[in-house]
Every structure is written in structure tokens, then in C-alpha cells.
Amino acid sequence: MNITYDEKKRLLCIGFEGEIDHHTCLEMAKRVDDAIHKYLPSTVIFDFAKVSFMDSSGIGMLLGRYKKLLRIGATATIQNISEDIEKILGMSGIFKIIPLQEEVYFYG
């Protein structure tokens, strides 16, 4: 997982990597939470460019992080999703609260 923080913009970018399922998402959630607590960002971008598989565990993981971000008044967006991941995320309606980033933000 690639985590970068832009202090000027208070922008935290989380680049997920590999497969997101029930087995892997606990550790991922913990690392994202640690970064959120460390930086207290105003915006978070979740990047899926390097994710090869995701099931509904990923939806739960994103929703859990979204709740934490709400508490510190931060917003989040999603970027670089494949068709497969868009299909799953679209079904859950999560784009209403964590929208798709229209222009891809380059980081790292």
C-alpha cells in the first residue's frame, strides 16, 4: 500500500495494492486509520490503480474509513477503478458519499 501526504493541500492519498478481500482488508483498514490519525487530512483520495481484485469486504472497509473521516470533517474520493471494481462499488451506492474523482490525481 502506497501512502503519501501533501501537507500544503492537507491531501492524503491511499494507493491500495493487490487483492482486497476479508483476509487482507483488516490490515489495510488499520494502515489507513493510522495515516488518518497521524495526518488529520482534509481530503483523502483512495486509488485503486494497483488493485487486481475486490469483493464486498472492500465496500465495508471504505464505509468504515468514511465514517472516521466524517468525524474529522474530511471528504474522500475514489480514483483509478477498473470496470470490475466499478461494478461492485456502483451496486453499493457508495459513490453518493465517496464520489469518483473525475480527473486522476497523480501522487507518489
Partner: protein
Amino acid sequence: MDNEMKLEIKSKSCNEAFARIAVAAFVSQLDPTLEEIADVKTAVSEAVTNSIIHGYENQDGFIHIHCILSGRDIEIEVIDYGKGIENVEMAKQPLFTSCPNSDRSGMGFTIMENFMDEMKVESILGMGTKVLMKKTLKEG
């Protein structure tokens, strides 16, 4: 093509990836599209994860996966001998979760239903749960 396989795995979360990849590899002899393979992988992942988290509540148990290929039809059964589901209709509702305080989305059955052509859940409290999923692949 007619073919069949049975797989028995321990209810460990690291076996979720193994189960979906094994089923995808077996199904791949029908030369499915990438989207069809992704659908099958995701549906199997959901069913196996349910068995581990809800059926066995993260305790030790065995999960049986039975896969039958007949022509372009795929039939996949995922069976556990865990605690069973009290109200199957309620469990199938989108966003329903029996673990509201964990990061579970409650989308598992909805995804299985949408990614496969057919899904049926049979469950007996204290005995276990069987999820039967069917999908017909496009003509190759």
C-alpha cells in the same frame, strides 16, 4: 463440456483467495470472458467469506465447494456446517448485516445474486448453510 470438481477447505480467511482462484481456474476450461471470470471469482469469494465469518464465526470448520460444468452452464455450491441463518430472506436484503459494528457492508448476497444468473440459499439453524449459484456463459 461436462466436468465436476469438489474442494474442501478449512475456514481460514487466507483460503478465500485460494477458493476463488481454484474455482476460476476450473471454470476457465470453458473459455469464459474476463468479465465472467471476475463475476465467478467475486461470487465465490462472497460465499466463502460468509461461511467463515457468519457460518463458523471465525472458528475452525470445513467448507465444501462443489462445481459442475455442463455445456456452458456452471453450477457452484458452497456448503458450511456452521450455525446457519435464522432468517434467510432478511439476510439477503442489500445492506443487511448481522455485524453492524464491524466493517461488513451487507452486500454479499446481493453481489452473488447480481453476478450470477441464479442464487439459492438453504439454511438450517445449527446445521449449516448451502449456497447454490448458477451461471450460463456466453457462447465462446
